[in-house]
Symmetry: C2
Subunit: 77 residues, 2 copies
């Protein structure tokens, strides 16, 4: 296989980059999930924190699903 300088990332590089992003996001998502869990448990204390915590948790899990889907596509290609 001919290697050309300054090519776009290889498939393996793309996969590894995705895996790294997923790993980081997954750890963040786990933390947010626990925070939301604690807020729910402690209601009505911290009620004002609930909307933002729920929105952020939802968004990060959606993003995570999306990245996992992208990885799946790369792994099947």
């Amino acid at each position: 296989m001919v290697q050309v300088a300054n090519t776009s990332p290889t498939l393996d590089e793309q996969k590894n980059e995705l895996k790294t992003r997923i790993r980081k996001l997954n750890s963040k998502a786990g933390q947010m999930k626990m925070d939301l869990h604690d807020i729910a448990e402690g209601l009505p204390a911290d009620l004002e924190k609930l909307p933002e915590a729920a929105t952020k948790t939802y968004d990060i899990f959606c993003q995570l699903q999306d990245l996992r889907q992208q990885l799946k596509v790369l792994e099947n290609s």
Copy 2:
């Protein structure tokens, strides 16, 4: 004290009505808080239920705070 027919509710009646509403709402709020707690715990399963559950839980606790405030005002009047 002179009793007149068709008067507006007495202070005691207003307080009792508020207390009943608060009791019912409190029980509902407790249930929603537990549901939200379970959703958070089980993420990413049921992710699609999170936004609505969080919004409803937030709204009901806000309503509860409002009714409790109204009762406080009545009790100090």
